[in-house]
Symmetry: C2
Subunit: 706 residues, 2 copies
Amino acid sequence: MNEQKPPDRPGLDSLMAPNAVAIVGASADPARIGGRPVDYYRRAGFKGALYPVNPNRDEIQGYPAYPSVADLPGPIDCALLAVPAPRLPDALDAVAAQGARGAVVFTAGFAEMGEEGATMQRELAARARAAGVRLLGPNCLGMFHAAIGHCPTFTSALQNGMPLPGRVGLVTQSGAYGTHLLELTRARRIGVNYWVSTGNEADVGVAEVIDYLVADPGTDVIGVYLEGVNHPELLFAALERARQARKPVALMKVGTSAAGAAAAASHTASLAAADDVFDAALREFGVARCRTTDELLDVIYAASRAPLPRGRKLGILTISGGAGVILADSAAHHGLQTPAMPEAAQQVLLARNPMASFTNPLDVTANAVNDFSLVRDGLESMVRDGGYDMLASFFTSWPASKVLGPQLRTELQAARPSFAHCPHALVITAGAEICAQYEEDGLLVFEDPDRAVAAMAALAGLADAFARPARDALPPPAAALPRIPAHAVGEAEAKRILAAAGVPVLPEALVQDAAAAVAAATEMGFPVVMKLVSPDIAHKTEIGGVLLNLTDAEAVRVGHAQLIQAARRHAPGARLDGILVAPMAGDGQELILGVRVDPVVGPVAMVGVGGIHAEVMGDVALHRAPVSLDEAEAMILRLKTAPLLTGARGRAPADVQAAAQALSALSVLGATRAGALDSIEINPLLVRAKGAVALDALIVPAASGR
Amino acid sequence: MNEQKPPDRPGLDSLMAPNAVAIVGASADPARIGGRPVDYYRRAGFKGALYPVNPNRDEIQGYPAYPSVADLPGPIDCALLAVPAPRLPDALDAVAAQGARGAVVFTAGFAEMGEEGATMQRELAARARAAGVRLLGPNCLGMFHAAIGHCPTFTSALQNGMPLPGRVGLVTQSGAYGTHLLELTRARRIGVNYWVSTGNEADVGVAEVIDYLVADPGTDVIGVYLEGVNHPELLFAALERARQARKPVALMKVGTSAAGAAAAASHTASLAAADDVFDAALREFGVARCRTTDELLDVIYAASRAPLPRGRKLGILTISGGAGVILADSAAHHGLQTPAMPEAAQQVLLARNPMASFTNPLDVTANAVNDFSLVRDGLESMVRDGGYDMLASFFTSWPASKVLGPQLRTELQAARPSFAHCPHALVITAGAEICAQYEEDGLLVFEDPDRAVAAMAALAGLADAFARPARDALPPPAAALPRIPAHAVGEAEAKRILAAAGVPVLPEALVQDAAAAVAAATEMGFPVVMKLVSPDIAHKTEIGGVLLNLTDAEAVRVGHAQLIQAARRHAPGARLDGILVAPMAGDGQELILGVRVDPVVGPVAMVGVGGIHAEVMGDVALHRAPVSLDEAEAMILRLKTAPLLTGARGRAPADVQAAAQALSALSVLGATRAGALDSIEINPLLVRAKGAVALDALIVPAASGR
């Protein structure tokens, strides 16, 4: 577990970019765990000093070896400790004494093995901290920094040589899956400079490695493989710094199907499975979240080779009508636009080939072989006249043809400078060598047209996120926010708290007998509603605990008796605070608003359209609380059911601004009182043509009074 | 356009598997369109007689050439006509005279170029039919049948040699995209025996080729690339025959984003975009519909190499916890189950390696290198004790390791016979040669774990579909079905028609004045509802044309005046049939039921939950009409909103059977009267705890009285 970082703690420079490295427990056998890293350093041509430490040998794999760390001829920055667990503490002290400020520990048998191992791990981390050494691991596969040949790792992925040179950094919690990813980058010609397996994260975690890569001038793109989030606040801060530095982060987080382990009392609990919450947080930072391995590699590939597009308009050029339609289908699927070329520009091209079509897709047909300049001129016209932000072209196996390939490449090379700011993906089949040539020309290469479009859509998403200004802190609420009681809170008290926090509610009265009910209703004006108020009854409607549209005093009197009877029948043990009387709220669209303290992400605001949409259809928008008015409005408009508020099927548009104001106010309350809170739910918030009011609400305090 | 098939029309044997072939317009230059096929025949080792026809040469690419078709030394079965359009008719007659019953025409410039070309194409097709010749094309890239070396094609995909031997047949409407697919099959080691590009389909269409491949003993799996459906009834019949023959069909249909071109008068028109309708039809036949090229190739790959699973339970074995979680996530995503191993079986394995985990995923950890038999025993136990229907294993780069690879392969080979009926996918990285070895052992090989799981889920879907019995014809309706009038039909008449077709409706009266309304309401019993009835007013509620819960005579009198006024104000020109009076329907869940005559697929039944779910959320189930009671019930239960009917959130369960009965009856009416119909919509059907009634309905007759 990553403890609080003391102020004088060193950064990761010694670990990630050392000048001198000791390998404690170095072996002469490159197949052994202490031998493989030596082999890798040798093959990678590490320019710094490498000191194998082994009491039984003078020389290891061509390097002079030393009997102990104390015998090293000079200071070191980093050490690889390839020794059994019991010898780690002494080894750590020894390398620290020799100047090391970074250490890599492969050794397993720590927190992953249970409580005893976790204790050992905490002791190891404390020792490293005391010695001023940053620790990678334990139970990791190490790392490499390819540009300098620094390879304290035994990942099998380097057995076939170092990766292609490049500007990608990969951070992985799983050494084995990180190795798998690394193997796959090779075939996709992704150049990886850093690969860091964080293992048990006793000290250095994923977040800090991301931070290092954000600051690193040799890194353009960061790929992350996550299994769990130990320190969400550090991770989110690092991701926000990446966004502000305009460094794309592509992230794969597994365990999505095990979401929602903790049951919560609130009836919106099921709306916000933990993975959805995490996903919403990632969206804030513009992280390209990838569900699959192919997606992760495709986004890393595209982001490391292409500029980010300026918008979402895709221009398509094809030699086959079918492929053009596939690309257009994919654009629609992935949220890109494919507007038509301007008529005049079409005519200019049509004059050169009347059999072709220059709408968008531009189908130059296989006849393009007779005049390859049409490819160049078409592409240039698309960007110049059509204003497309990115391009996709289908040439199938032409690049592999000895006759067609060179002509095609010449035209594409000639065209490229005039739209170097546009990502341009080719959909082709060709050998790796030919694909690499096109990549050198600044083009992306795919076999599956859908993957080409998906990757470019991801680039557009990154560009959108990078363009957003940093989130300002919300202004403090005008009045002091109410506190959340430690006990379960019923409707009436919940609404008083919400009203104090700036969420509009209807006037209402909590009454104890029928006469008081009639008096209150008469004062408010008929028609009124009446409801049971009890901290023990969550789902009132289902037991007949809500009566609507009571139009006169007699109806109120009869209704009062009905409600008391309903409570006695269906919830005989329930405490009864009284009966709530309130005016009929009128017409409008109902929303469900909530704020909930997620154990990982913290307070999260949510909104969904009332009725069953949120629950049965899962149509809910989430955002970390607090949310600004603009963010709240964006959440509401992101709902699939938003047309219900904006005027679908002749409905009157509802006051989305007022709903957003209520959501923002609720989120501020939730975020401010997160320590005392499990969840608050407003169900429903009635959004009228003008204004919005909370008609019912439930506040669940934190179980343990956090 | 594929005309009606006359009874004496020959099948495709001569075209697909000829003994003697003429190439009319053969060229000595393998780069030319008439030369490339000769080159392919030669390199593929065609065993039959190949006769190049060329008046200027005695020999072409090593074959004796003939000056004309009449000069050929023997009869032919098939001819490739590589001649310009004006010479096609004579060439067709000549090859027919020489015995050809199949001909391939590459030539372009027919229906794809407009009306003049379409006329030429019809003439060509008529001539072929008259001559008893089956025509592939025009405007196609031809075809090949690899096993016999029959290659009347100029697809560039054969320039690197014939595909791997195998039992896959590919049918494609696009020659260019079909070529792209064919290129990609090579890298994925998919063995393709037939490849047929149908081009303009003047005669032979995709459906007939599928039929041929279904009957062909050399074909196990059929891949289809579609751009349009010329003859849906032929296609559906072929797909149903494939299902009954248990031959997997994987199909990619493009143009999905251009759906819904034709606007329809009914207000459910937008519910059933044409692509959804087509998709629903494909589901009936168990076609694996693939959105992307990778999906298509993955399903073809898996179906051609693995048995179909007996169920949906996936067992996972991994050397990395992370990869196990990824595979489990993917299983959930793709609808597979991953139940745990039986406790006793876990204990047996744990006794051998207490550090591993044998729940499911079985994580044997990297320590499996110390005892590879654990891999074998784990896999065997999963199938024997865990009862899993399919297996996925993660070994990353182990197969590529000279040390680990052979040991792993030995264990997998030893294990395989004991569960040869289970598909087993390996997630590994290794060179093509090593992957091919594992494939020879009966295993599937993937790099991306999600694609491995997705492909096996597709196999499970095929197995489900193959297990279904053939659809019986529905029994004829008990009474004669009512006819659909040629004019627009208002609510009252629509409900009379539906009632006659077996859809329950409420008693009701159409009245012309207030006194009659009061009389009718009094007879039915209060409370009642009243509605405007007009063929010109589709959305009554929105203009105040519906009044609910009228509790006495006075309310009915006032309401009548209100309705008349609403009609005058909002729809002044509308014809008014009168005012409908009916009893209040009571509580229940509202459904929307529809039947609609799709221009491609024909009559289609649809159902969605009322309110906005169907419209805004697109939660609609579709099935070709008519549907049986069981099918109707399955449609309703397939809705995401089905929990509203089956008892969500304490709701009383609604009478799904009654709703299914109404849907089935509606579908029978729609299918029987399809020629006279555009659409019928019941909105809503109120589904009560017992029974269901249509509360409103709209019938739109066919525009042109089909």
